[in-house]
């Protein structure tokens, strides 16, 4: 069973508001991923980190999202100005390494933007 912790489990925001969610990766996993799963259950990779450094991020994440994984603190993903289309399940996953390692997913934060 995954030991990735995500908070909060549910988040409701108005359009234009900031939305922030947190993730504690499994102990010993230096690589953290954020994914968005929409209402059609489709996944979109957002950003990943190895320790505190960004490995890869998509354009959307660069523009409206900010994310960080500080040492000795939870990782976080924040939407600067929420839009209705951001309503989705945000999944954090951690992994022992890059490449062919299994990613262990947390329970997710379900964001609803009204």
């Amino acid at each position: 069973n995954s030991k990735v912790i995500q908070t909060p489990r549910y988040l409701v925001k108005g359009q234009g508001q900031k939305a922030k969610m947190r993730c504690i990766p499994e102990k010993g996993h230096p690589v953290v991923f954020w994914y968005q799963q929409n209402k059609n259950n489709e996944f979109k990779f957002l950003i990943n980190f190895q320790n505190q450094e960004v490995l890869q991020q998509i354009d959307m994440t660069e523009k409206r999202f900010s994310a960080e994984c500080p040492s000795n603190s939870p990782c976080s993903l924040e939407i600067q100005s929420s839009e209705a289309g951001d309503s989705a399940l945000y999944l954090c996953a951690s992994s022992p390494g890059t490449g062919g390692y299994e990613q262990y997913f947390g329970p997710g934060t379900r964001l609803t933007v009204l």
């Binding site: 995954s2 991923f33 994914y35 059609n40 259950n41 489709e42 996944f43 990779f45 957002l46 950003i47 990943n48 190895q50 490995l55 890869q56 999944l91 890059t98 490449g99 062919g100 299994e102 990613q103 262990y104 997913f105 947390g106 329970p107 997710g108």
Partner: protein
Amino acid sequence: GDSVTQTEGLVTLTEGLPVMLNCTYQTIYSNPFLFWYVQHLNESPRLLLKSFTDNKRTEHQGFHATLHKSSSSFHLQKSSAQLSDSALYYCALNNYAQGLTFGLGTRVSVFP
């Protein structure tokens, strides 16, 4: 960019019958990692199978898949479906430091 195409939509079958979900992929990298993840209702995805070795069968929990680089395929099979296999199944790939590229998912419903 990378892409994954899998059996679309809903697959319904009777318990005890075989199941096969197709997965093909496109990537510029010669050594991709291929995965099958399963997501049960109200749960997060968990790994079912993975492979990066060409033509080698990998098995777990009664499911098996073989990566065929010649046809860019990684089909998932099980000889006898169980009621507990009802779930969403995702084929996915990545290359080294990248995030996973998922297919659109296949919902499997197994009936008695």
